[in-house]
Amino acid sequence: MQGKRRFERWYMKYMVKSPVLFCVYLGVFFGVFLIASSVVTLEERQTYEAKINGEEIEIVCGEALELFDNRVYFYEDRNREVFSFAVKEAAYSDGVMRILLCGGQKEVSGTITVEIVSGEHTLFQRIFGKAGAA
């Protein structure tokens, strides 16, 4: 009973009547959120139309593509299945980027969509720079 009273008084004094702790609470949260969202990094991906032939992907593009982390994603229909593979080798010549994948023959062939991991960005950039879209 006594303890409860004391807690009530303490609560009224520091949490209700004085704005300090309230501001600290808000401030700490925003600080932690800013730090957390700039520490968490996500892959930045670029999307291209491409052809797949066995274990080689050919992308027609104007310049050499930089491969970050040596990883690509590709799919025919994104909602059915997205494949993810490591890159064994990549070369650019005459406006065509050729990417050789690890792991031999793939189940798909023909025209596909490729997403190349081109870098990293923070969660903060993703939310405020790109409205959350990948």
């Binding site: 609560y11 009224m12 949490m15 209700v16 009547k17 704005p19 309230f22 501001c23 609470y25 808000l26 949260f29 925003f30 932690v32 959120f33 957390a36 969202s37 968490v40 990094t41 996500l42 892959e43 994603y73 229909d77 994104r78 909602n79 997205v82 993810s84 969509t113 969660l123 993703r126 939310i127 409205a131 959350g132 879209a133 990948a134």
Partner: protein, 577 residues
């Protein structure tokens, strides 16, 4: 109550409330900042959720998923704590802010001119003091803070939808616009019915309050039947308005729900089509669904909020008007009584709502004399007494005490110097001691005892086991009419003013009590100027002179003993054969 001054709109209502918010500015700012953070979180959380879905479903990137999920969790935890703090703030502000308005209203109530107060019903004043200040707080929380944050959120949601895809954004905004139109149209109808319902309920509550306080009189008057019929009529009226409001609110709600559903289906169809074509990820789709739902909710909220604001502004208006109602004038000159002669010269008066009551009354009560004032019921005797204590101001002529003009004196000094026993004595809830101390707060125990002995209350009080500390009033023991009058006399005795007004109760008393009261009168009256409004011949006989009031004029004056023999008017008035 009549309306005074300008009509408030949304902004001037805020201007009016600002005065009361000033003392709690820091708290209101905290409160707003808290709700703002809450609104921003409401926008942020679906975005985070969308990112989590994309990372998990498409890229099976569990590391990123986990990291974003942690941030998500952090936000949720924060928002839980935030609500706790916000509700504590809300409670605090509610108490303090509402209290400061209520205090102002109450303070004003004390000083308000009697003429203004007489036109207001008790129920009306009760809601003015109890309910409307709370509505002011609701206005600030709902019609300011939540309104602004919701507008902000609606803008953010709309901007997000446009950023994801302008087709969807545009469709969403257009549809939101239409749904607002439909909502407004329907809600306006509901709003006006709701207003009618509130007003009907308000008047019902006021009436009920007055009936309950007068229950005993109603029973005495055998008026139960009539009151019951009125009660039924009012109930039926309430029911009718309630039903009409209910039905139109139901149809309107169905209309709104239907139109919202159609629009929502269009948006969802469009988004789903884009997702199926692979132009949009599942994560974005979830965000769009969630944002569109929220956007239309916000818009509905904002339009509803606008209508509510109108209603609340009218409550604020009432407080605003009331605080501007005329108060008793503040004057600095004090009434100083040396001998206590009273003179009315050419005094005319009529209540605002009624016809002129007193016409050019001229009379003098010499210092130390006792003047009886008699006349038919309703001829304005009590009114004359009220003029003398400054509850009302004469419309013509002037009243002077010892040659000092009454309308130049501070009213508290007038009331300090004049003792007034009203026709119906007011007994406060509390002990007899507290009731007596109303006459003189600093009276010592011996003085109290002397006072009640002189007033003839000694046998009664001494027979009570708790004596002076017996609780009387509505919560305690009831007092008889004669006891109440003697209580009032004891109070006057303690107050010991130079001038006395006795407004004798009309209710009949047995001979013994009447004698006892007359005894008490004699004791307090000695050496004082007195105006005795008498309903009994025996009371008139205690006085030096007598005035008969008729048709708002002094019809006759004379010495009571002689009038009882000679005056036809006097004999008719007291039914003397």
């Amino acid at each position: 109550m009549k309306e005074t001054g300008n009509r408030l709109n949304y902004w001037s209502a805020i201007g009016f409330l600002k005065r009361y918010m000033r003392g709690y500015r820091k708290h209101f700012m905290m409160f707003y900042a808290g709700w703002l953070a809450d609104s921003l979180l409401a926008v942020l959380l679906p975005v985070l959720f969308g990112i989590m879905i994309d990372e998990a479903v498409y890229y099976r990137n569990l590391h990123s998923f986990g990291a974003v999920a942690l941030v998500f969790l952090l936000c949720i935890l924060f928002s839980g704590g935030l609500y706790f703090l916000l509700y504590a703030q809300h409670g605090y502000l509610m108490n303090m802010f509402v209290f400061s308005i209520r205090r102002d209203v109450f303070h004003h109530l004390q000083k308000c001119e009697a003429g203004y107060m007489a036109n207001a019903s008790t129920g009306e004043i009760l809601v003015l003091l109890q309910d409307y200040p709370v509505q002011c707080m609701h206005f600030i929380v709902r019609n300011m803070i939540h309104l602004y944050n919701n507008v902000l959120m609606a803008i953010l949601y709309g901007a997000y939808l446009c950023a994801v895809d302008w087709h969807i954004g545009l469709t969403a905004l257009l549809s939101a616009f239409f749904s607002v139109l439909i909502n407004m149209k329907c809600r306006k109808k509901i709003g006006s019915l709701g207003q009618e319902e509130r007003e009907a309920y308000g008047s019902y509550a006021g009436w009920m309050y007055e009936v309950i306080t007068a229950l005993r009189d109603i029973r005495m008057l055998r008026g139960e039947g009539k009151i019951e019929r009125t009660f039924e009529k009012k109930q039926k009226e309430l029911f009718r308005i309630g039903a009409a409001a209910g039905i139109s609110s139901l149809t309107a709600q169905n209309m709104i729900a239907l139109s919202n559903l159609v629009i929502r289906l269009v948006i969802y169809g469009l988004a789903a089509y884009m997702a199926a074509c692979g132009k949009m990820t599942l994560g974005t789709l979830t965000v769009i669904f969630s944002f569109y739902t929220k956007l239309s909710d916000k818009i509905a909220y904002i339009s509803q909020n606008f209508l509510d604001a109108q209603g609340r502004v009218s409550y604020i208006q009432r407080i605003h008007d009331f605080l501007r109602a005329p108060t008793e004038p503040e004057r600095t000159e004090r009434l100083e009584i040396r001998e206590g002669s009273i003179s009315f010269s050419g005094v005319s008066f009529g209540y605002e709502s009624g016809e002129p009551l007193l016409h050019r009354i001229t009379l003098t009560i010499p210092a130390g004399k006792h003047m009886a004032l008699v006349g038919k019921s309703g001829c304005g005797k009590t009114t004359l007494a009220r003029l003398l204590v400054g509850f009302y101001r004469p419309q013509e002529g002037m009243i002077a005490i010892d040659g000092q003009r009454l309308d130049a004196c501070a009213l508290d000094s007038v009331r300090e110097e004049i003792g007034y026993v009203q026709q119906d004595v007011l007994v406060f809830d509390g002990s007899i001691r507290q009731n007596l101390l109303m006459g003189n707060r600093h009276a010592a125990e011996e003085q109290l005892i002397r006072a009640y002995e002189e007033a003839g209350l000694a046998p009664f009080i001494e027979s009570l086991p708790e004596g002076l500390d017996t609780i009387i009033g509505s919560k305690g023991m009831g007092l008889s009419g004669g006891q109440k009058q003697r209580l009032a006399i004891a109070r006057i005795y303690l107050k010991n003013p130079k001038i006395l007004i006795f407004d004798e109760a009309t209710s009949a008393l047995d001979n013994e009590t009447e004698n006892a009261i007359h005894q008490a009168w004699r004791k307090v009256l000695t050496g004082k100027t007195a105006l005795v409004i008498a309903h009994r011949q025996s009371s008139v006989m205690l006085c030096d002179r007598c005035i008969i009031l008729e048709n708002g004029q002094v019809a006759e004056t004379g010495i009571p003993a002689r009038m009882a023999v000679e005056s036809e008017r006097f004999r008719t008035l007291f039914a003397m054969k």
